[in-house]
């Protein structure tokens, strides 16, 4: 589904990603871990097409197509979804209005008929159960005045509505209390199936207790420093990132800027 080859990217001329290789197949859950500044959020944003990040080298194929040539909204309509670490507020635009527009854009793209507001309302009501959100959220402006936890739940609600093929969750666990984390993780598990893939970008192992990954990749200094199964996350929890970064430094791989 997704094939990343020797991906290099920089922001404001500073190289962040220095050669990432990663393959993701449908049905899989991948966790991207790593210390602060290792490039994991950058990877998520590059995949979603954030304009501030410049790809300097490498290739990304998504369903056989060149992903890097697509505009962010094209990628979204093709099924890539990113849950933002800091969801953006859009004053004056209601959640329902926004979701219906996004949903219908996708349907149009797939050659399907658009849903009218009433039909969409039913769908939204159904999907909102996934993240235990009540109807009052739908009439409020997108993310405006939402608490941190509400914003994250709203991201998962959007995921539930848009049904992506590839969902990238950027630090979705950060700033969540245990109840919200349980709801968010429950939502993701409910939405995951053999036809789609999930990428979890996270600093902590905690989230992985709720969403169990098939593969764990540890980033350090803009490269994948170590890969393994879910047990790698537990090992990290025990030994900390220093264990990886120091071994990276020792082996001389990309250790220049790790905090």
């Amino acid at each position: 589904m997704l094939e990343i080859r020797n991906l290099h990217a920089s922001v404001d001329g500073n190289p962040i990603l220095k050669g990432i290789d990663l393959t993701i197949n449908r049905g899989e859950i991948h966790a991207i871990m790593g210390p602060n500044g290792s490039g994991k959020s950058t990877l998520a944003k590059v995949l979603a097409g954030h304009p501030s990040y410049e790809v300097t080298k490498g290739q990304v194929l998504y369903e056989g197509k060149n992903l890097l040539e697509m505009a962010p909204d094209e990628r979204a309509r093709e099924g890539i979804f990113m849950a933002f670490q800091y969801p953006i507020e859009v004053p004056g635009v209601s959640n329902a209005q926004f979701l219906r527009l996004a949903y219908n854009e996708k349907r149009k793209h797939l050659g399907e008929e658009e849903l009218d507001p009433l039909e969409f309302k039913d769908l939204l009501k159904e999907r909102a159960k996934v993240v235990e959100m009540d109807a009052s959220f739908m009439t409020r402006s997108v993310n405006e005045g939402f608490s941190g936890g509400e914003k994250k739940r709203n991201e998962i609600l959007q995921m539930a509505v848009l049904e992506p093929r590839l969902a990238i969750l950027d630090e979705t666990d950060s700033g969540l209390d245990i109840d919200a984390l349980r709801i968010v993780a429950g939502g993701v598990n409910l939405l995951h199936n053999s036809e789609n893939a999930v990428v979890l970008v996270t600093h902590y192992q905690r989230l992985l207790n709720y969403i169990v990954p098939d593969y764990v990749h540890v980033l350090a200094g803009g490269r994948i420093a170590r890969e393994g199964g879910k047990e790698l996350a537990l090992e990290l929890e025990e030994k900390g990132y220093d264990w990886i970064t120091s071994s990276v430094a020792a082996s001389g791989i990309g250790a220049s800027r790790v905090t």
Partner: protein, 478 residues
């Protein structure tokens, strides 16, 4: 963000000219011109007197060039035509007698004048250059006691009512442009809602400037008697000419005890081209008097057209417990300039006013909010809330806020807030990440920004306004 920058702006679709024979007086302005206009309209002596008084006063006044944040070349008031009317029979018994060319024009503008083709809930007075060519649903309205007709007709048919209220809200010597209008105004609409009547349909006037050499000076007077209610809509367009044209209108509203007037405008005069050539100079005086207790006047405006907008729809809150509202969206693009806002003059006790202004400046345009909130000593327990938000699109535009707040008693409270924002790259990316195209994302964000104002518009108008905004902004985000 540079993709949208190159999108081609959509053409101004109302820019066509109607080829029609007109009865036009020679250009220039003198006492003779004023007499000639009055004569053409067969006006009574008192009306001529009103005009002459205004004209003589106008001669002593100077154009307000210093305080507005506007720059434009000298207007030559002698190089303009003050009366131009499409030639047709003097009195139109029914629509069949209206020149088909005119009917076609309004149809093309989306304002069919045949009642059967219209939206059932809206009565229209169609004004073409200097005259009203048709007013629909007059008879139906008359059954409810509502008078809705052209101003000329009102002077002929309801002289006492017109005399009683004309110039009582905007005196002939109020300001330079109001004095000019009072001297030479040609037509406009008159609405009278009798005591206790809730006007059964929306009343609307559609203004069209067609002649490239003429100015338009319309006059609107709306009187809502005790306990009545009316919602009035106003729309305007003009053909594309390289020359600037002057539009100096006066609108007077009077609300008696417990009456309510809701006045909505979507102003889409020709704005000039990208370089600022041509376009309407829109110098308008609009004012409402809440004369009675518990009366309410609400102005909603969506200003997207005109090369220059100078306009401050205001409320004089004379009656105790009266309410004034001003909701405004002003969008400027390319070389447009707008200096617009409101005045809320609190005179009565427990008076309330709300001002919500949203200014959007794109291209190299300049957009200013100018407002006055004045609470007089006797206006005890009065309240005002003002919120002025500006959005800048691109780094060559300007957004300004000039609020004047004057409070003269200690039981009233006035609150003013203003902010400036832009469409952030992060916001656009977020929406795009959800599959929404950049243009749609921009229009979504702008509509969200203007939501509080659009909510005030009657439904058809709100749709039109949203569409207009999206259209006007195409190509401006980069």
């Amino acid at each position: 963000m540079s993709t949208a920058e190159n999108l081609v702006s959509q053409e101004y679709k109302y820019g066509f000219v109607t080829d029609i024979e007109s009865d036009t007086i020679p250009r220039g302005l003198s006492e003779e011109t004023v007499r000639l206009i009055s004569e053409k309209k067969n006006e009574p002596e008192w009306m001529l007197g009103f005009r002459l008084k205004a004209f003589r006063h106008w001669l002593t006044m100077t154009e307000p060039k210093h305080w507005p944040n506007l720059t434009y070349p000298e207007i030559n008031y002698q190089d303009m035509i003050y009366y131009s009317a499409p030639k047709q029979k003097a009195l139109k018994a029914n629509l069949d007698e209206v020149d088909p060319e005119l009917l076609k024009t309004f149809e093309k503008l989306g304002i069919p004048l045949q009642e059967q083709k219209q939206l059932a809930g809206v009565a229209v007075d169609a004004v073409f250059d200097s005259v009203s060519v048709a007013t629909t649903y007059k008879e139906k309205l008359k059954k409810h006691g509502v008078i809705f007709c052209s101003f000329s007709e009102a002077i002929r048919e309801y002289p006492d009512l017109v005399r009683k209220y004309l110039g009582t809200v905007v005196p002939t010597n109020d300001n330079f442009f109001a004095a000019l209008n009072s001297a030479v105004f040609s037509d406009g609409s008159f609405c009278f809602i009798p005591k206790g009547v809730r006007c059964p349909m929306e009343l609307s006037t559609y203004f069209r400037i067609n002649n490239s050499e003429s100015g338009q000076f319309e006059r609107t007077l709306i009187v809502a008697e005790e306990g009545s209610y009316v919602s009035y809509l106003e729309g305007c367009t003009a053909p594309k000419f390289d020359k600037n044209q002057l539009h100096a209108a006066v609108v007077e509203l009077v609300a008696l005890d417990d009456a309510q007037i809701k006045y909505s405008t979507v102003q889409n005069w020709y704005a000039g081209d990208e370089e600022g050539r041509g376009g309407i100079y829109n110098f308008v005086t609009k004012r409402g008097k809440c004369a009675g207790h518990n009366s309410k006047i609400s102005w909603t405006q969506v200003e997207t057209g005109s090369a220059i907008t100078w306009k401050y729809p205001s409320c004089i809150l004379l009656g105790d417990n009266s309410i004034g509202e001003f909701y405004s969206v002003a969008l400027t693009n390319h070389a447009q300039q707008a200096d617009t806002g409101t005045k809320m003059i609190h005179l009565g006790k427990n008076t309330r006013s709300t001002i919500i202004s949203k200014g959007i400046a794109a291209g190299k345009s300049n957009n200013s909010y100018r407002g006055l909130v004045k609470v007089m000593p006797k206006a005890e327990n009065s309240r005002n809330y003002t919120q002025c938000d500006s959005m800048l699109i691109g780094s060559n535009s300007g957004a300004n806020t000039f609020p004047y707040i004057e409070v003269m008693n200690n039981s009233s409270a006035v609150e003013h807030e203003a902010s400036t924002s832009k469409i952030s790259e992060e916001q656009l990316f977020y929406l795009q990440q959800r599959g929404i195209s950049q243009e749609d994302a921009v229009s979504l964000i702008i509509n969200g920004f203007c939501k509080d104002v659009f909510l005030q518009l009657p439904m058809e108008f709100a749709v039109e306004a949203q569409r207009l905004l999206g259209m006007k902004l195409e190509g401006s985000v980069g």
